[in-house]
Amino acid sequence: MSVFTIEAFLAILGLVLLMIEAFAPDISRRTLAALSIGGTALALVLFFTVASHETSSLPAFVQPWMKLDSLAIFYKGLSLVITLLVLWLMHECAPYLSKYTVDGRLSELFSLPLIVCAGMMWMAAATDLVTVFVALELVTVSFYVLVAFARKSNLALEAGVKYLILGALSTGILVFGIAWIYGATGSLSFEGISAALAKPETSKVPALLGAAFLLAGLGFKVAAAPFQSWVPDVYQGAPIPVTTFLSVGSKAAGFVVLTRTVEALIGEHSIIGPEVKALLLVLGALTVLLGSLPAIFQQSVKRLLGYSSISHAGYLILALACGDSIRTGMTSGGIVAFYLATYLPMTVLAFLVLAVLRVNGQGEDIRDFRGLGKRSPLLALALTLALASLAGLPLTAGFMGKLFVFFSLVDHAYWGALVCATIGAAAGFYYYFRAIVAIYSTEGSSNEPLKLNIASKVGATVLAVVIVVLGVYPKPLQHTLTKPVEVAAKASAH
């Protein structure tokens, strides 16, 4: 069995669930949820058994379009994990979400994430822009539906429309960029583009224009400045599980593509390398600032996390701009992957707490956190950890990710970007800790304990433990991700 079989299985399971919904509308939500969560869990287990074999190969008809390197395997695993978590969150949120959907039906919410997951997994392994494009569109179009799904809420409708319009615009920009890159380099595969750009006779200006549009299009998808303005509104309006999916899944998928694109554009001897690097540095620094500073004034937790997601994207872009880091022995792709792996548990944990509050009839503002310390000490502790980790407190997972980014900025002596990143991190401490303070303040809150089911308790505990473990002992994860550098070094030595 190959990894591709698992992806196809997920997509087909998604289709089958859609069909069940269409032809057996009376099927209970619990059954649907069980089918989709069970299917994803099965896929995850199968994936770990298959991916551990180095020999797992792809069927012939996708051979030319996909490559299973360790980065692809890592992101595929990440996509599966986040999909599983999101489906579980969907199930937890179902009681409050069904108030906002047509006839209280949620069936598409359990089938579309599977298709999104297949799309993200294809994106992770894609080696050329056509495959990237179709997989990216599959993911984006599914997200248009998911974001607007709670359509009886005006916020969700607004979010859906904004996401649709800006998403369609960014797709147009992306295609325009791809067309120019193809015109300039005569190739659509990352290898071909990289090779063509290394030749001095390739015309530089058209390639630069293409690169600019390509980066702008992808920038929309990963919420990089100046294309970040949709994020707070969409995060606020979308249902909580979908926001989680957007902020981790969609971002991870966008960054794996961005990683490969940037690697192709700034490869060795690339004629446009310096310009693209400079562009990325400016974009990254701007993204950090435009994410962190407005976040200070936010009252809604979802908007706050939206801005936080922008500033995290900024750090990731800075990491990509730096290229390989000698101090940590990681490639830029490795740093980004590590950062995203640490980003996953803390974001999911924050949204999980938000979902629990929502189900218990609370709102989504920071003041709704008040009294959480008394109402559920476990959740309060977990949320504190998650927010501290998002801020980048030492001994949490978020610290290590930020540390690597700062290391590589220092390595390459990008002092301006370093200053911006520091300002962003400092602002982060302020706004995350404002939320933490709210958790432990008692003023004007009810004291009745929150109703928590076993699954939420276990989930919160596991995620919190993961955050601490990754913060204290990041070596194993770091080790898996440093492998590509060694392999690449060996390959170039031969």
Binding site: A11, V102, E108, L138, V141, S142, G183, S203
Partner: protein
């Protein structure tokens, strides 16, 4: 194609494209866009890309724009037609951005390595391609090599061949995408039974 016709079609495409933006009446805008598509289709035809040209008209001018017009007609457009005060800042910004972009693209197009080649010198070698195609043996489609040898460019057949063999995977992903978007539209636009019954 004589250059005269090229400039005519370019004028149609760009002129009506501009009219889409500046027209007050939404129906005029929609129709101008349709005409602009037809102009674009003529440009495709002039490049021997008959299939794409015809699809441009069939899909965009003939189906998508009709639906647009349909929606516009169902909405009340009186207020649009009367027109509020124009937002000068937005207009100026739009014009400046569009101007910069077109100047940029035009300059860069002039610098492309093949911008000095004309179509007459770069004639297609169809007969050679036909022989190559036939040499592919079992996988070749007889109608394609027959057309190529007769000196015709079988654009639709070549495109179909590429789409269904080389890009078969992508085609299926796009199929999935279309299904997802259809399901999404239906799911989002379905009437709420509870709401409808409570209203009546």
């Amino acid at each position: 194609m004589p250059p005269l016709l090229f400039y005519l079609f370019v004028l149609i495409t760009l002129g009506f494209g501009l009219n889409v933006v500046i027209a007050r009446n939404p129906v005029t805008s929609a129709l101008s866009l349709a005409v602009s598509f037809v102009g674009l289709a003529s440009l495709f035809l002039s490049l021997d890309a008959y299939f794409i040209g015809v699809l441009q008209v069939l899909v965009y001018a003939g189906a998508v724009m009709v639906l647009f017009l349909f929606i516009i007609m169902l909405m009340d457009i009186k207020s649009e037609e009367a027109g509020g005060r124009a937002n000068m800042a937005a207009i100026i910004a739009g014009v400046v951005v569009a101007g910069i972009l077109s100047v940029q693209v035009a300059t860069i197009s002039g610098k492309l390595p093949f911008s000095d080649k004309s179509t007459e010198t770069a004639a297609l070698k169809l007969a050679e391609a036909g022989a190559q195609w036939e040499a592919k043996g079992k996988e070749n489609l007889p109608t394609i090599s027959r057309d190529l040898k007769a000196g015709e460019l079988p654009d639709a057949k070549l495109m179909g061949e590429t789409l269904f063999s080389k890009y078969a995977f992508h085609l299926q992903v796009v199929g999935l995408l279309l299904l997802v978007s259809t399901v999404g539209v239906v799911a989002l636009s379905k009437r709420d039974n509870k709401e409808a019954s409570s209203q009546s």
